[in-house]
């Protein structure tokens, strides 16, 4: 068990390092840089001379040889320091950390809604004795996945905010402002959860143990909650990482549509401006979230399924 844990933690550290390194390489492969974008963009480009631009790049350390820049940044990043944003002048770590709470509030709420809706549909769809109802319910997840979140968001704003004036269209103040963006995010996420859970419930339902339990006279719902859930949960948990990624990526869209502050907006503007310090801080943080979720999932597996616990310990 300790070796299992140790191996997983080492993997996590490797993912974080890889995220940092790949983002560094990609940002350098792109033509242009944040200083040119800031000082030379638009009208400002009229007055900046090539010499001034070079001096400004030197000020941000962008003229050092690449390996040196990489080393410096990596060393600082290990201490939680990603440097100052070139676009805003604010501390990059601070920008990302302060953008985290509004994003977590929406994604957290969206996750709760997604589990309720996705789980609800999966259970209702597989529990019902009416075949047509089951089919109808189970057709919802593929539909939910195919709806573009941008369009869903605009539709929700249009109806609930502009027409009915029930909820605010903009801002991140209070619980009311969370509802529409969370629903927008919850639709594709809930659809993924619903689809995977429904599929594994159906597979489990066809297993002999379920048929025996039913034959012995146990009610469908008792079989569902008493026997199937535990087994169906493993594949559903496996997609937790996908769901987390989906939520983080979706926040770029919802935060833009609903004019919210958060990680998504910080990311999209930093990428546009090629603001390396901020992009790296975001990527490492996102990788960290991803890695922690996967680590937790890996730790929960053996609890749910003794076979995994057994195999891992004997393999090692």
């Amino acid at each position: 068990m300790t070796r299992y844990l140790l191996r997983r933690i080492l993997q996590a550290v490797f993912v974080l390092w890889a995220a940092f390194t790949v983002s560094f390489v990609i940002l350098y492969l792109l033509p242009g840089d944040a200083v040119s974008a800031k000082l030379g963009g638009g009208e400002a480009g009229l007055s900046v001379t090539p010499e001034q631009l070079a001096a400004a790049k030197a000020e941000y350390g962008l003229d050092d040889p690449l390996p040196l820049q990489y080393g410096k940044r990596l060393l600082a990043a290990l201490q939680g320091d990603f440097g100052r944003s070139i676009a805003t002048g604010d501390d990059a770590t601070n920008m990302v950390v302060s953008a985290l709470p509004p994003t977590l509030a929406v994604t957290g709420f969206a996750l709760v809604l997604a589990i309720l809706f996705g789980g609800g549909i999966a259970f209702a769809g597989t529990l019902t004795r009416h075949r047509w109802l089951g089919n109808l319910l189970l057709a919802l997840p593929p539909l939910g996945i195919s709806l573009p979140p941008f369009w869903v968001g605009l539709l929700l704003v249009q109806f609930f905010s502009f027409q009915l004036r029930l909820l605010p269209a903009l801002g991140s103040n209070g619980f009311e402002s969370l509802i529409l963006p969370a629903i927008t995010l919850a639709i594709p996420t809930g659809a993924i959860i619903g689809q995977v859970l429904a599929k594994s419930l159906r597979t489990q339902l066809a297993e002999p143990y379920a048929e025996i339990a039913l034959a012995k006279g146990a009610s469908r719902s008792r079989v569902h909650f008493g026997h199937l859930l535990r087994n169906a949960a493993v594949p559903t948990l496996t997609i937790a990482g996908v769901v987390a990624g989906n939520l983080i990526a979706g926040s770029v869209i919802t935060e833009t549509v609903f004019s919210r502050d958060g990680l998504g907006r910080v990311t999209s503007s930093a990428v546009t401006a090629q603001d390396i310090p901020v992009v790296q801080a975001v990527i490492v943080l996102a990788a960290l979230v991803f890695v922690v979720i996967n680590l937790l999932v890996d730790l929960v597996y053996p609890v749910l399924d003794p076979r995994i616990r057994h195999r891992e310990t004997t393999d090692a």
Binding site: L30, L46, G89, V157, Q274
Partner: protein, 535 residues
């Protein structure tokens, strides 16, 4: 269940509808006299990375910064004339290398310190020291020699070469004056509002990136520009700039009264706000219009007749009528019509495909098999580099591409990111550049075309624009400046150094509650006379 839901929904809709119409009816017809108090909720399209007007050059930033600082002078948006603000009067020497300003009494910064000659010197020296970080100021002060405190109320600002443009620059927020205490903070801190101490009618209150910027009324303000419609304090208690990137949400929020006014109304959304209690103030940007700026050293653009044919082959009214709206004007010069010393050259810019074809034929460019002309095996084609700083850029260029195809010219359009187009512009490795530039002074042409400045056309020495550009920069006397500026505009178009297309226009929309949201001479927001009713 569904029945009650439907009924309550209906009732709600009716309620909303009546609420709207009564709000519209009460204020739409007669706004009454301006009323102090209240907050203006203004929806803007992008987050100003930095709110220090001395540093940044984007509209998002300057629209905030303008309200925080006063300038030495102000510029009349109607006539382009320079008028008193912090300076009551001023004079310049014969060759426009020295400007002396006499400051008014009683103006103070929001930290209580006086606006005196020493503080003006501190501020100008600090802008110069920012270097390229002062994105617009570094251009205005490119040949700045220094400032002398003559006496507490008099400052003398000097340049190493004639700088007639400085008088207009002294009216911009980029050269707005900050308190000496502001420079105890770093440039990065001022960007975030920390230490942003001006003498303007509003003071900085808070900034949340991607979210909101709040300014509050400066109590006791009484040194407004001579161009302001009222004197004393501003009307608004607060201005809340709400950052709303999605245009549909911006218009919807205004229509549903969640905002009082918005900027950057998209051409497709404009009809939504005509009549029905809403108003749509617009103003074309002064400066260089959106144009195809030719590099005369590249490819087919080395042939002057080709460049002239392109100028004639663009149907400008078709661009504004189809891709844009009537609020956008077809270009009638390289300068926008709101620029001082602009000259109407519309006869030179009339759509003339026959004239264009004749020019190309006479230069030996004959139609090829696919309709594109060729000469000695060379195709009549050029690339234009652009970035999406203005949303409609791509559609405009696609239409221009179709128009030029009719005269047998193949315009290739190439979209790049801002950072990439900066590199391309600096390297000089382009055929046509597509851009516009806002500046309420004809000297902007010298920045772009003079061999002594950026020379985007890569003109050789002894070209026909250098002399008039130098002439207009060496005197503030309109009688001498005007003919020089005219000559430069004419030469640029006659030689096809640039093919102007349309004038960028700022389009705002007001809800029924917002009044007096105005434009200053560079078409940025001036909110001193703005007020809100019914809140």
């Amino acid at each position: 269940m569904s029945r009650t839901a439907a009924t309550s929904l209906l009732a709600l809709t009716a309620l909303v509808a009546t609420a709207c119409s009564s709000a519209g009816g009460a204020t739409g017809a007669d706004a009454g006299p301006p009323k102090p108090g209240g907050t203006l909720r203004l929806g803007i399209s992008s987050s100003p990375d930095c709110v220090d007007p001395q540093q940044v050059g984007t509209n998002a930033s300057l629209n905030v910064g303008r309200q925080l600082v006063d300038s030495l002078t102000d510029q009349d948006p109607a006539t382009g004339e320079i008028k008193p603000w912090l300076a009551e009067k001023w004079e310049s020497n014969a060759d426009s290398t020295a400007f002396t300003f006499h400051l008014r009494d009683g103006a103070t910064f929001s930290d209580g310190s006086p606006v005196d000659a020493a503080s003006v010197k501190t501020s100008f020296d600090a802008i110069k020291a920012l270097g390229p970080k002062s994105q617009l100021g570094s251009g205005y002060l490119a040949v700045y020699k220094g400032t002398t405190v003559v006496d507490p109320k008099t400052v003398k600002i000097e340049f190493s070469v004639p700088s007639a443009q400085f008088l207009q620059a002294s009216s911009t927020m980029s050269l707005g004056v900050l308190a000496p205490a502001a420079y105890k903070k770093t440039a990065d801190q001022r960007c975030q509002g920390d230490g942003l101490i001006g003498s303007g009618p509003f003071v900085f209150e808070s900034l949340k990136q991607n979210q909101e910027i709040v300014l509050a009324k400066r109590k006791g303000y009484s040194w407004g520009s001579s161009l302001f419609k009222h004197q004393g304090e501003a009307y608004l208690d607060k201005i809340a700039y709400k950052i709303v990137p999605e245009p549909g949400v911006r218009t919807g929020s205004l229509a549903s009264a969640q905002l009082d006014a918005i900027t950057d109304v998209q051409p497709v959304d404009e009809p939504q706000f005509t009549g029905n209690g809403f108003t749509e103030p617009t103003r074309p940007n002064p400066g260089v219009v959106f144009n195809l700026h030719a590099n005369v050293t590249k490819g087919v653009l080395t042939d002057e007749k080709v460049r002239q044919a392109v100028v004639k082959g663009i149907n400008r009214p078709e661009v504004t009528n189809t891709v844009l709206t009537p609020n956008y004007k077809p270009a009638t010069s390289i300068l926008g019509s709101a620029t001082p010393f602009y000259t109407d050259l519309s006869p030179l810019l009339a759509y003339d495909p026959a004239g264009a074809t004749a020019l190309l034929e006479s230069a030996g460019w004959l139609p090829g098999p696919d309709g594109i002309r060729t000469k000695n095996g060379q195709r009549l084609t050029a690339k234009v580099v652009f970035s999406l700083v203005f949303n409609q850029n791509k559609s405009v260029l696609e239409l221009v591409q179709q128009q030029l195809r009719k005269i047998g010219f193949d315009l290739q359009i190439e979209q790049r990111t801002t950072a990439e187009s900066v590199q391309i512009t600096q390297s000089g490795n382009y055929e046509y550049l597509w851009y516009n530039t806002t500046r309420a002074d004809p000297d902007i042409l010298r920045n772009l075309f003079s061999t002594k400045a950026n020379n985007r056309s890569k003109l050789p020495a002894g070209n026909p624009v250098d002399a008039p550009l130098d002439a207009q920069s060496s005197t503030v006397d309109p009688a001498k400046r005007k003919p020089a500026a005219e000559e430069a505009q004419r030469a640029i178009i006659e030689h096809g150094y640039s093919a102007p297309v349309f004038e960028l226009t700022q389009v705002l929309a007001h809800g029924p509650n917002a009044h007096g949201v105005g434009f200053e001479a560079s078409s940025r927001l001036q909110l001193f006379d703005a007020w809100v009713s019914g809140s």
